[in-house]
């Protein structure tokens, strides 16, 4: 799963080199023993799409986890993986990251129409930037769900006012947040990760916030060069050690 070996990953990279934007599902291995992304979602020029549960609005359990074996961010973005589909006789609820991928592919086609001057890899990067968690990322959601508003109004949700404080008191590091009223707090999670000096994530979490003090770390958990990055209510803050 380094994106270079499998035939289909090499074919996907070749298609990307011809100017196509290749969008692919990361697979439904999250609850299986394999757990990890499948090929060609490991190819570096493939926009790999993870699955989101439309009820909870975070990673759906079966969606495969990244990163690639050479520690590149995968999935790149996420989309709903539980959908209603039409069959010749009826409509059905069904799930799988195979449904996330065409949602993003359709989104990409629309986004490209708004900015036809982009080449495929510029569009790839812009779709990542448009996503709901950007610049935060993790190996379950990538940069989150791509947002059409980014391409229409060119506003970056990461420019919102900080809603989180990382406080260092003695040997402890506290993450403190603005707590929303319960009716507004639904599906608004706090995401944090700890990134090492090589850029690899050592740990990441999604937390349903219910109090001011969300998380306390002992400073001994961090090494020199580590970055603690927190995303909450559309803003991302970080602390480097």
């Amino acid at each position: 799963m380094n994106g270079k070996k499998s035939l289909v990953a090499r074919a996907a990279n070749m298609a990307a080199s011809k100017g196509m934007l290749v969008v692919n599902a990361v697979g439904n291995e999250g609850t299986n023993r394999w757990k990890k992304i499948i090929t060609p979602a490991d190819a570096d020029s493939v926009l790999s799409v993870g699955g989101i549960d439309p009820e909870t609005y975070y990673h759906i359990n079966f969606s495969s986890y990244g990163p690639s074996t050479d520690w590149r961010l995968k999935p790149n973005v996420s989309a709903y993986a539980h959908v209603i589909v039409a069959t010749p006789n009826n409509i059905h609820e069904t799930d799988g990251t195979s449904f996330s991928s065409p949602l993003v592919a359709g989104f990409a086609a629309c986004a490209w129409q708004t900015h036809p001057q982009f080449n495929n890899m510029q569009l790839f990067k812009e779709i990542e930037k448009s996503a709901s968690l950007y610049p935060y990322f993790d190996y379950a959601h990538g940069y989150g769900i791509p947002q059409a508003s980014y391409f229409l109004r060119k506003t970056n949700i990461a420019e919102k006012q900080p809603t989180t404080i990382i406080e260092v008191i003695d040997d402890f590091i506290n993450i403190k947040v603005i707590v929303l009223p319960p009716k507004d707090a639904l599906n608004k999670y706090l995401y944090f990760h700890i990134q090492d000096s090589k850029g690899h994530l050592k740990k990441y979490e999604v937390i349903e916030v219910s109090q001011y003090d969300v998380k306390t770390f002992n400073i001994s958990e961090f090494e020199k060069g580590d970055i603690l990055r927190v995303h909450y209510l559309g803003s991302t803050i970080e602390k480097q050690f």
Partner: protein, 237 residues
């Protein structure tokens, strides 16, 4: 009881006030590329084996009972994969070679004396270096292979066992006389040779040919012991 109530209360209180962690992942723990496995970079396992001596059928001047003679071994084998079809490795083993001597008038080794039973045992510690050629595309399994290598053994012990009865043997008063002679001076302390194994996963058929002599050269009257042995090995993993 008070303690139990306190614990239950604390547990409920903890759940009410704690943050709800929905997802936690430690990528370092589960994205380590495995390096140890039957068809991965490194692999090691222990094995047991038995080889029967398979030569000197026509010229058995050492008077060996081939069916009752053989080498039992137990060892540790390490394999380093170079390509999918080629690997190198070493093997550290303990072995016990037993030579059962026929008791007849042609017997000259190790003496002309006729016993009821007689055998020689050599205990060895050995090292083998081998190169492995695999024949098939496979997943994380050993697969079918041919090992070719050389070995050297240190024969750290040797013993000569005899068993006799006081005559007449069928008498109710007959006694069994067993003798053991250790550190036999006519055996070499080291031996070396070549070895080839043809295997499939846990099982292998092996042939070992000892190049060096086992009997010291100054004991010219003693015949050389069998050099070729063929047997089976079972890998325990």
């Amino acid at each position: 009881m008070k303690t139990l109530i306190f614990v239950i209360f604390s547990f409920i209180a903890f759940n009410v006030t704690a943050q709800n962690v929905l997802l936690t992942e430690y990528p370092n723990n589960d994205t380590i590329i495995p390096k140890k496995g039957p068809n991965l970079k490194k692999f090691y396992f222990v094995y047991i084996g038995y080889e029967a001596f398979a030569d000197n059928f026509s010229d058995n001047s050492a008077n060996i009972r081939n069916r009752a003679s053989g080498r039992t071994s137990f060892g540790f084998k390490f394999k380093r994969k170079i390509t999918n079809f080629w690997a190198l490795g070493y093997d550290i083993n303990m072995s016990s070679s037993t030579f059962s001597i026929k008791q007849n008038s042609q017997k000259t080794f190790p003496s002309v004396v006729i016993h009821k039973k007689e055998r020689l045992m050599i205990g060895g510690l050995g090292v083998q270096i081998f190169t492995r050629f695999n024949f098939d595309r496979r997943g994380n399994t050993i697969g079918k292979y041919l090992d070719i290598g050389g070995y050297i053994n240190w024969n750290y012990t040797s013993q000569h066992f005899t068993k006799d009865f006081t005559t007449p043997a069928d008498s109710s008063n007959a006694l069994t006389i067993k003798t053991t002679e250790s550190q036999l001076n006519y055996f070499e302390n080291y031996e070396y040779g070549v070895k080839a194994s043809l295997g499939s996963n846990h099982f292998a058929i092996s042939a070992t040919y000892r190049i060096s002599d086992l009997i010291k050269s100054k004991y010219v009257i003693y015949p050389e012991l069998p050099k070729l042995s063929i047997g089976i090995y079972l890998a325990l993993f």
